[in-house]
């Protein structure tokens, strides 16, 4: 039998807008006094009419430079912010009504915020979460054991939180945010400030958690490695507007006007001027950047006129593409 529920969107956003009023004044004493009498305010649209939807179990990367409106969007979707206009629906609830049934099913992890009490072991805070989220004791023990195992927490949860390293604390935070088995996870820079090993650990964990529980994940990160490892689909926003929503591979296709050709030549001195832009040359190994449309022509030319040992055509690194996306937009 076909059920609609399994594929109907978990998160739906339509024309969502959030406008902040910002007080403005110039520097200096005189401006200070003047602002006492009349305050100038300016409207800033942090999120400016975005629409998208996520189906159950999707892991979507939410990308954009600082101030693009990512965190504002996540806060609206987790019920911490009232939008100025537009519609939103998460798991059948309007997030900013903050119904208990809604809050029990979601989590918001912010890499730069913490919920665990600083002076006592994480396990004490977990026990409180068990009570607040009314997690049955057997479920609680099972989930905790699973999280301890997946995140390799060991005895960390029994040490006072203040004695943990940043990475250890983040792992404990994540475990604390997932004890109630949320079906929707909003992750705002979960790997910020962590070393590469710890980043990888958390990344693997998110993928595994998603696989096991079919949780829907909307994730922001400045580390492209996170996005590449976890997200097939990305949503890119800039200045509060949606720039791209689709497969990560398509993003590269669409926004990178270049391809990278790596060619290995028998003759290390063969001149390549006029063929294409040389990015790097190391002995016989040359990296060329060519306009996408010219890739076939340049490749054919190289093979026809040069003693080629090896040749590969690649897409540029994702960081470069993202940079390109934002650069194009700001023009």
């Amino acid at each position: 039998m076909l059920t609609l529920a399994s594929t109907s969107p978990v998160i739906q956003v339509h024309d969502l807008r959030k406008v902040y009023q910002v007080h403005e004044r110039e520097a200096g004493m005189r401006a200070s006094l003047r602002s006492l009498l009349s305050r100038k305010t300016r409207d800033v649209a942090a999120v400016d009419g975005i629409s998208f939807s996520l189906t159950p179990g999707e892991v979507v990367g939410f990308l954009g430079p600082n101030g693009a409106g990512k965190t504002t969007t996540l806060k609206m979707l987790s019920g911490l912010l009232h939008p100025t206009s537009g519609e939103g629906n998460v798991l059948g609830h309007i997030p900013w009504q903050r119904e208990k049934a809604f809050l029990r099913q979601i989590t918001l992890v912010m890499g730069n915020r913490q919920q665990l009490a600083w002076d006592i072991p994480a396990i004490d805070s977990y026990d409180l979460n068990q009570a607040i989220y009314r997690i049955p004791p057997a479920d609680y023990r099972r989930t905790l054991a699973e999280l301890v195992d997946l995140l390799d927490l060991g005895d960390l949860i029994k040490k006072p939180v203040r004695n943990l390293s940043l990475g250890e604390r983040m792992k404990c935070e994540i475990a604390g945010s997932l004890l109630h088995r949320p079906s929707v996870m909003f992750l705002d820079e979960p790997t910020i400030g962590l070393d590469v090993t710890m980043q990888r650990r958390i990344r693997t964990f998110i993928a595994e958690y998603n696989r096991r529980h079919n949780a829907t994940v909307l994730l922001t990160s400045h580390y492209m490695a996170d996005v590449e490892a976890l997200c097939k689909r990305v949503i890119v926003i800039h200045h509060g507007r949606l720039l791209f929503d689709g497969d990560l591979a398509d993003l590269v296709q669409r926004f990178s006007p270049h391809k990278t050709i790596i060619v290995e030549l028998e003759d290390e001195t063969a001149p390549l001027d006029g063929v294409a832009e040389v990015v790097e040359r190391e002995g016989g190994r040359v990296m060329l950047r060519v306009p996408k449309a010219a890739t076939a022509q340049v490749t054919a030319g190289l093979l026809a006129h040069y003693p080629v040992v090896d040749l590969t055509v690649e897409d540029p690194p994702i960081e470069e593409v993202i940079e390109q996306v934002f650069a194009q937009e700001s023009l």
């Binding site: 902040y20 912010l81 915020r113 006592i120 409180l128 607040i132």
Partner: protein, 267 residues
């Protein structure tokens, strides 16, 4: 209601663990609660002795009893929530609380009660010492002693709800300190903390009866001293319940608008 019991149990467990992390600071805070009443006993004692041992209807040992009771009732009913809210909102700590499927007031109640219970370990011996030094006299009827606990509990509920509602003004102004100062100034005079209300000028006594502060402190204190009639008791209980209803209504409305404001402006 019964579903709240495991939540409170878990809260108490965590609050106790947190309080016991800072034993030294706890002792200092608890002892600092002694300073004010001890000072007032000393001052009023001196005044009484200079006037032949009596001021109004209080003699030296009545003053000792009064401020000893003030110390206990004050400790058991005070809250520090108004000082905490500004920080909570500015640092975004409220966001964490708003993500949870429970009203944040519950964790504040648990924290408050946990601290008070632990601090009693320091305060009770100190009160014994104070009693030995100042020789207080209490003359309560048995019914007044029985009624003391409920009036004390209602005084706590009233003050807590009232101050929690006021603390929410932090939603609109991030400089709540000035409001706190004004509030505590009025509270100190009108609740009977600085002197028994019967020693204040009659118009102020009348005013105090119409404000909520008297029912937060002076009422249970006078009751345990044996200064109230059964009629006073019933009137007082009615006043406490009435003000609790007002505070609860205020809190509900301010919370709803406050959260709307918070989530509107963002933090």
């Amino acid at each position: 209601m019964s579903e709240m019991i495991p939540i409170y149990r878990a809260h108490f467990k965590r609050s106790f663990a947190l309080e016991l992390q800072y034993r030294a600071s706890l002792v200092i805070w608890a002892l600092s609660a002694l300073v004010e009443p001890v000072l007032y006993v000393a001052v009023w004692r001196t005044v009484a002795l200079a006037q032949g041992g009596q001021v109004g209807d209080y003699d030296v040992s009545d003053f000792a009893a009064y401020f000893l009771a003030v110390l206990l009732v004050s400790h058991l009913t005070f809250s520090w929530i108004m000082w905490e809210y500004e920080f909570r909102i500015r640092e975004g700590l409220l966001s964490q609380a708003l993500l949870r499927p429970i009203h944040p007031i519950h964790s504040d109640i648990a924290d408050n009660l946990a601290y008070k219970l632990i601090a009693l370990v320091v305060l009770l011996p100190a009160m014994v010492v104070m009693a030995l030094l100042f020789r207080p006299t209490f003359h309560p009827q048995p019914w007044a002693l029985v009624a003391f606990l409920p009036t004390l509990a209602l005084a706590f509920v009233l003050r807590f709800l009232f101050e929690w509602a006021l603390a929410l003004s932090a939603f609109w102004t991030t400089r709540i300190g000035a409001i706190n100062q004004v509030y505590f100034f009025v509270l100190v005079f009108m609740s009977g903390r600085i002197s028994p209300l019967s020693l204040l000028p009659p118009p102020i006594q009348t005013l105090a009866s119409f404000l909520p502060f008297r029912w937060m402190l002076a009422f249970p204190v006078e009751l345990v001293l044996g200064r109230l009639t059964p009629t006073d008791l019933w009137l007082g209980l009615a006043a406490q319940l009435g003000w609790i209803a007002v505070a609860l209504g205020l809190l509900t409305v301010v919370w709803r608008f406050g959260v709307r404001q918070y989530t509107g402006v963002g933090s």
